[in-house]
């Protein structure tokens, strides 16, 4: 498979910013201090394109993606701005909206839809698949039951589920894992969203099913022209799916670049480590896979320093552990948070 998304229909406003996350911070109060789960994240999602958010588990990528539509648990104290280019208001700050209010609900599922890692638990076992898809359609598109069912059946067909009439009335436990994720995608896309947030969409699936689901997502992206925010820990999926990549570590984006640039020219020691830990086809046989030493610390009451300091091979004592790391521009599109690089820094004029 090749990165076909680049060839996606370049119609209308494609490539224009759709959503921009600015200085997003999520803090969670714990028994033993405040956890800075997400600590000053910025990125822009462009119309019709795919942004990958990659990192180890616990780095804050899921919280970031859920903060966009305000569905994090109420213990999460969220600050910053999430600006969405809505038809009625091109400067709509989603974070400023009441998370239980009508306005954000008219965006959830309608403009920004989401699919989850565990398709088994993401569906309620108590209702039929059809019921749960129609619910989304009837919330946003039509009150008419028959029409909603027609749309749902059509969507089930689009995601490659045959015998839709029968499947419609089945319960989640009667679906296989891959089928459930297909059904989940059909539910998310049933209201033609402009942005699809996919949180580890294939992690729980078999490898062969993974490939099918990813292909399906690409095909549907071409058809519907939506943007995708793909949250994953799998660099292979990033390479296949994304236009741009943001690497997250300990609540911060440590490196961000277009996908090719990142893979051929990784800068941050953490990104480099990730690359080396990934198996490659056609590489020299004798090369051993490397792992990154240590484990991710808990970001509780963390002093201003580089979060990767403890595990970094190239750390500079007295610098890396002394102050917060600013964002440095390697090029216009490539930024990194590391003291090893010099260049224009954030806040400085270009």
């Amino acid at each position: 498979m090749t990165t076909q998304t680049v060839q996606a229909a370049q119609t209308g406003k494609d490539g224009q910013p759709l959503l921009s996350v600015q200085d997003l911070k999520i803090r969670i109060k714990m028994d033993n201090g405040t956890m800075h789960a997400v600590d000053g994240v910025d990125f822009v999602i462009k119309r019709g394109q795919t942004l990958g958010l990659v990192g180890e588990s616990g780095c804050g990528k899921s919280l970031t993606s859920r903060a966009i539509i305000g569905i994090n648990p109420k213990e999460c104290e969220t600050t910053g701005k999430i600006v969405y280019d809505d038809e009625s208001d091109s400067d709509l700050d989603l974070l400023a909206l009441d998370p239980k209010g009508k306005r954000i609900r008219s965006i959830r599922g309608r403009k920004i839809a989401m699919i989850f890692q565990e398709p088994m638990t993401a569906f309620s076992p108590m209702y039929t698949i059809g019921n749960q898809i129609v619910e989304a359609i009837r919330t946003h598109r039509t009150k008419n039951k028959k029409e909603a069912k027609k749309i749902a059946l059509e969507m089930l067909g689009k995601v490659g589920i045959s015998d839709q009439e029968k499947r419609f009335d089945q319960y989640p436990h009667e679906f296989s894992g891959g089928m459930r994720q297909r059904a989940m995608i059909s539910m998310a896309l049933s209201c033609n969203p402009e942005l699809l947030i996919a949180d580890e969409p294939t992690t729980a699936l078999d490898v062969t099913i993974q490939a099918q689901v990813l292909e399906l997502m690409q095909a549907l992206q071409r058809e519907f022209g939506m943007a995708i925010l793909l949250v994953t820990h799998d660099l292979g999926i990033i390479a296949e799916m994304c236009d741009e990549v943001a690497v997250m570590y300990l609540g911060k984006i440590v490196e961000q670049a277009p996908v090719k640039e990142l893979f051929y020219n990784p800068k941050h020691p953490y990104t480099k480590g990730l690359m080396k830990s990934m198996p490659r086809l056609g590489g020299e046989k004798s090369v051993r896979l490397e792992s990154i030493e240590g484990s991710v610390p808990m970001p509780i009451d963390m002093p201003p320093m580089c979060g990767f300091y403890d595990r970094c091979k190239d750390r500079i004592e007295g610098v890396c552990n002394a102050r917060a790391v600013p964002k440095t521009y390697i090029s216009d599109q490539h930024t990194v948070r590391c003291f090893l690089y010099t260049g224009r820094q954030e806040g400085e004029p270009s």
Binding site: I71, R108, F123, P125, M126, Y127
Partner: protein, 332 residues
């Protein structure tokens, strides 16, 4: 579904048979038998039975035969003639006594059951949604006290309070003027008024228990990914709450429904004795004190059978509510 129900009903049959064994065993338990009790009664009434009379009577009743034959006679009479034996205390057939008190026993039990679920489910949902709030602690405290206070003493305390506040301890199920009156609106209101204390007293312990179960289930369900999915679809919070976590949390509650009948009988027995309600409790109590074992045993039998029926219904209901069991029996 039908297949499951039939299977479940068939499974209940041996249970019922064994229950009848146990009840028969209990009837036989106290020292002495029917005839010696009967002769004691006669002696008290001034007539003397000779040993021959007693032997004759034993032979007539089949009491001189082996235990299993006696059981066969007992069960045959019940099944074929609806004859549960004779009650000395009331001096009439057991079935007549049971009939006389069964109606109000069921009324009290069913009202209590309705009270339990109507109170416990909303409070369980509310305290789960508002976990760790002042209201949550308040209801937790109440339910702990409710579980720890013996219900018969609660009855006395409530009676005392009702006496000091309203000048009427609200004993029994009817005021004096209505006991023998024909049914009317006023009599119904009077009954409802008298039901308040018994229902609270009998139901409090199980209600407290149910609140805790419901709250726990809700907390589990509220943290499930399907709630996040529902939220991401743009549904309103109220709709999410009732359609997803509440519906799922109700399932295990339904399965308690049959057993709650048994705990209601336990609670109502002693409460009714204290409050002097004209229902099963005092009747059985007096029967036991007077060793009127056919009456006591029959009540036990009826209560156990009702519980079996209750669990049967709740099991079938549970199967019907749970898609996994329901679809298992659906043809492809």
């Amino acid at each position: 579904m039908l297949q499951y129900s039939i299977k479940r009903i068939l499974m209940a049959i041996p249970v019922v048979v064994f229950i009848s064994f146990i009840v028969f065993y209990i009837i036989q338990l106290p020292p002495g038998d029917y005839v010696s009790s009967y002769s004691a009664q006669m002696t008290a009434a001034g007539e003397v039975m000779t040993q021959e009379d007693m032997d004759q009577m034993r032979a007539n009743l089949g009491l001189d035969r082996p235990v299993y034959e006696q059981y066969a006679i007992w069960i045959k009479k019940i099944v074929l003639h609806g004859d549960f034996g004779f009650s000395f205390n009331y001096n009439k057939p057991v079935l007549d006594v049971v009939k006389q008190y069964m109606g109000l026993t069921l009324v009290v039990s069913l009202v209590t059951m309705a009270f339990q679920y109507l109170v416990a489910i909303p409070i369980g949902i509310y305290t789960a949604v508002k976990q760790y709030s002042a209201e949550d602690y308040f209801f937790s405290g109440i339910s702990f006290l409710g579980m720890a206070t013996p219900n018969f003493l609660l009855a006395i305390i409530l009676m005392y309070l009702s006496y000091t506040w309203f000048g009427d301890p609200l004993l029994g199920l009817f005021s004096n003027e209505y006991v023998n009156a024909p049914w009317s609106m006023a009599k119904l209101m009077d009954l409802l008024k008298h039901l308040v204390i018994p229902v609270i007293v009998i139901g409090l312990a199980s209600t407290a228990d149910l609140i805790r179960v419901m709250r726990g289930q809700m907390l589990d369900e509220l943290n499930k990914p399907n709630v996040v999915t529902a939220r991401s679809k743009g549904l309103s919070e109220a709709k999410i709450l009732f359609k997803y976590p509440t519906r799922a949390a109700l399932n295990p509650i339904v399965s308690t429904f049959g057993w709650s009948l048994s705990s209601i009988f336990t609670g109502s027995t002693i409460t009714a004795i204290v409050l002097n309600l004209p229902i099963q409790g005092p009747v059985m109590y007096k029967a036991l004190l007077g060793q009127d074992m056919y009456l006591a045993g029959s009540w036990l039998l009826f209560m156990a059978l009702l519980t079996v029926l209750g669990t049967l219904i709740s099991d079938i209901l549970l199967a019907w509510l749970d898609p996994k069991i329901r679809t298992e029996f659906r043809g492809n």
